[in-house]
């Protein structure tokens, strides 16, 4: 009997928001006539721009050099001519310089046969450099020394997101190869692929061969199942679950998107210039899972997906819990855009804010066992120290409490503010 790991406490069952999107195969989005490639990717440090206006760039050419020893590089996602270099707003409100490339010229890779390169002989340090060079920005890959658990996170715990699920179904061979590369770099004692609880048949019937299961038997890859509950796919929660099995806490959690990017960087020597993402929400006519070039403006994706069915109230980059809203549809896709959601008023359920009615639901759903209502009231009255004493710092800002709150109290923002002011008060 297979064991299903559960979230120790709290959490929300929301997998129904994924069901309609799960079975949509990954399709290639049209190439953008204009790509806007941000120099800040995945929240890493800004890369140094290497091109000027008027320069001709090739597909996959280095256009931004990462700072520092392992700084991740930025590549041109399409061939063409640099038309502009200007500041753009990123989801979440920060501003980054970006290179605007107009499509034109020859493709070096598109449509050509990809020849896998041998990597087994390379030392781990060269692999690390290769990965950073190709623009994979996950800093945890740069670690040195032994690791007890490598957890491959095959769950997108937020509702709507399912591009990684599609990768797992459609490209298991690439994922397995990617895991092998990571095993070589990180030398973990155990490798665990964490998947959402589903029936074995579902996976083996949908996944193209070789399936992860048959391979896991021969290799040192273990498969673990977890329940479908948000936020079990958070690295923090997975670490907590697997830490209890082993006293060691030397655990690394890596997402499937990164595994796939590592595979492409090492085996295909292909820079990180495209990713799969989910287009969802009730406002879009044809939701789906798309393979999109980095820098594609979101407005192009709207056209790709048949335009709007209803006017969206919010456009969100990322999942509905931790994703950020955007106000301009020209905002480009970045390496961390796991989804673009076009949400209608009915999906958002904004409603009016009322006073707290002490229903206790926030306590019930908090995966950290906190009392968000009380913490918020403390912070609201400026009692930061009391909030900190109530383990405010354990809050991971998963948003379960704010989602469930019938009074629509901005608990996540309140607790964030409390952490900021509380730490400030302690430090002075």
């Amino acid at each position: 009997m297979k064991q299903v790991y559960r979230l120790p406490r709290g959490g929300l069952y929301l997998s129904n928001l994924k069901d309609s999107l799960k079975d949509l195969p990954i399709t290639n989005a049209a190439l953008p006539p204009l790509a806007i490639v941000s120099m800040v990717q995945q929240g890493s440090e800004e890369a140094t721009c290497l091109v000027n206006i008027g320069d001709e760039v090739k597909e996959g050419m280095l256009i931004g050099k990462g700072k520092g020893k392992y700084g991740a590089s930025v590549h041109s996602s399409i061939p063409g001519i640099v038309r502009q270099i200007y500041s753009i707003p990123l989801p979440g409100g920060s501003v980054s310089p970006a290179v605007c490339i107009e499509l034109g010229g020859e493709f070096d890779r598109l449509g050509k046969k990809e020849i896998p390169a041998a990597w087994q002989a390379l030392p781990y340090r060269d692999l690390q450099n290769l990965i950073a060079e190709k623009g994979v920005t996950d800093s945890s890959l740069r670690r040195e020394g032994d690791l007890s658990h490598l957890i491959i996170n095959g769950i997108e715990s937020e509702p709507y997101l399912c591009s990684e699920y599609r990768l797992l179904i459609e490209k298991p061979a690439a994922i397995i190869e990617g895991i092998r590369i990571l095993q070589k770099i990180l030398a973990p004692k155990r490798t665990i692929v964490v998947l959402e609880e589903m029936d074995q048949q579902e996976l083996s019937s949908k996944a193209s061969p070789p399936s992860l299961h048959t391979l896991s038997e021969q290799e040192a890859i273990q498969i673990a199942y977890v329940e479908k509950k948000y936020p079990i796919g958070d690295a923090h929660q997975l670490k907590k679950i697997f830490k209890s099995e082993d006293s060691s806490n030397d655990i690394l959690v890596i997402s499937l998107t990164t595994v796939h990017a590592v595979y492409e960087a090492v085996v295909l020597r292909k820079p990180f210039v495209e990713r799969t993402l989910t287009i969802g929400g009730q406002a879009i006519r044809k939701p789906g899972n798309l393979k999109v070039r980095i820098g594609t403006p979101i407005i192009d994706l709207v056209e790709e997906c048949g335009g709007f069915r209803k006017p969206p109230m919010k456009v969100v980059c990322g999942g509905p819990f931790r994703g950020k809203g955007i106000y301009d549809l020209r905002t480009p896709v970045t390496k961390e855009t796991s989804a673009v959601l076009f949400l209608t008023e009915e999906e958002i359920q904004q409603n009016r804010r009322t006073p707290c009615i002490n229903c206790g639901r926030c306590i019930e759903v908090c995966p950290e066992g906190l009392n968000p209502s009380r913490l918020f009231k403390c912070i609201d009255r400026g009692l930061y120290k009391e909030a900190l004493a109530d383990s405010l710092m354990k809050c991971t800002e998963c948003g379960c409490c704010a989602y469930i709150c019938p009074a629509r109290i901005p608990l996540v923002q309140g607790l964030q503010m409390g952490k900021y002011w509380g730490l400030k008060e302690i430090n002075t």
């Binding site: 006017p311 931790r322 549809l329 002490n358 229903c359 019938p406 901005p410």
Partner: protein
């Protein structure tokens, strides 16, 4: 690009919320109280309508005036309307119209708004308002009505079953008979249907189990007894509660613990005042009388004045059950539910203190 067509809102995380909201929850409770309200109006006619109109109207007016003074519109959240409705349902159908007004005034002004409005009151406003008028004007609470279609008689003043039983107990009339037998002995009127339905239940359903239902309980279950406007029909109250608990609006922990603790205590000790032995208490009679179900289902479950966690809700429910038993069976007051809730309201902060994350004692 037609930019003017696309204006999106930007908010903090999370980007989506659950369907339920404060207003939706409170209005749902109001709506699921309507069957019991309708039953009260059907039984008592114009008198009930006038009392309900005054209590709900006063609640809306007072909340509106407070809103004007505080410059915030709070009527949409449904809490004032629910308080008004509950107070109306807890009153006898004969009270003069200043009673509901006073009760609502006390509930909203003294209990709710003087502490800062919805969510900040530490006592249930509806029960507090009811307790205020029932203690201030006890004479107005002595007049109850037989519903119009009792055997031939038309709206005759009477007493509630619990008051009759209590009075007889105090007079020492009833040795060795259950409360229901006591009612029968004192010629408490029964509806035209009770006999036939009891027989049907006995022959068709209970005969399979070898149990016999004595007469009288069918009246209690469907609400053919004198009592407050909305408290008599166990059936309709149960219907609304099942709907509300099913939708996840009311916590089921309170009704469960109140009813089971009270039921067990009544079963074991409830027979003693009647000269019966241990384990001879009449559970059904006590569960379906004296506003017990209205209190356990709709008032004890009030989110604002009940504890935050599941463990807390159980403790709170057990407390209400025990206190109701003590007041009703051992004390002089016939009903006890309202006072038990008020009493436990006072302990909610203490319960919360030991049941939330601060202390790992009762998580």
């Amino acid at each position: 690009m037609k930019e003017s067509e696309n204006t999106f809102i930007i908010t903090g995380t999370p980007q989506i919320y659950t369907q339920s909201s404060t207003a939706r929850m409170l209005w749902s409770v109001c709506i699921w109280l309507l069957p019991a309200t309708g039953w009260g109006i059907f039984l008592y006619g114009g008198g009930a309508i006038r009392i309900l109109l005054v209590s709900i109207g006063a609640a809306i007016a007072i909340e509106g005036v407070v809103g004007l003074i505080r410059k915030e519109f709070t009527l949409y959240d449904g809490s004032a309307c629910l308080t008004g409705l509950l107070i109306g349902l807890m009153l006898p159908p004969t009270v003069p119209l200043f009673i509901p007004f006073f009760a609502v005034f006390f509930a909203l002004i003294v209990v709710k708004w003087s502490f800062g409005g919805l969510g900040k009151n530490w006592m249930n406003p509806a029960v507090a308002g009811w307790a205020f008028v029932s203690l201030s004007f006890p004479d107005q609470f002595r007049l109850w009505l037989y519903p119009s279609f009792f055997k031939g008689v038309d709206l005759v003043t009477s007493s509630t079953p619990l008051i009759v039983v209590k009075r007889n107990l105090l007079l020492g009339i009833s040795q060795g008979s259950t409360p229901m037998e006591l009612l029968m002995q004192t010629a408490f009127p029964r509806s035209l249907w009770d006999g036939a339905w009891t027989e049907w239940v006995n022959t068709k359903l209970l005969s399979l189990l070898g149990i016999v239902l004595p007469p009288g309980y069918i009246d209690f279950f469907f609400g053919f007894t004198p009592g407050a406007i909305g408290e008599t029909s166990a059936f309709l109250l149960l219907l609304g509660t099942i709907a509300l608990i099913g939708k996840g609006i009311l916590p089921w922990q309170v009704p469960l613990s109140v009813c089971s603790v009270f039921g067990v205590l009544v079963y074991i000790f409830g027979g003693l005042p009647y000269g019966l032995g241990l384990g001879q208490g009449d559970v059904l009679f006590h569960l379906m009388s004296g506003g017990f179900l209205l209190g356990a289902f709709y008032i004890g479950t009030d989110l604002v004045t009940s504890p935050l966690t599941k463990a807390g809700l159980y403790i709170y429910g057990v407390g209400i059950g025990v206190l109701t038993f003590l007041i009703r069976i051992l004390g002089a007051a016939p009903e006890g539910m309202g006072y038990a809730i008020l009493f436990m309201n006072v302990f909610v902060p203490l319960i919360n203190k030991y049941c939330t994350s601060n202390s790992k004692l009762l998580r």
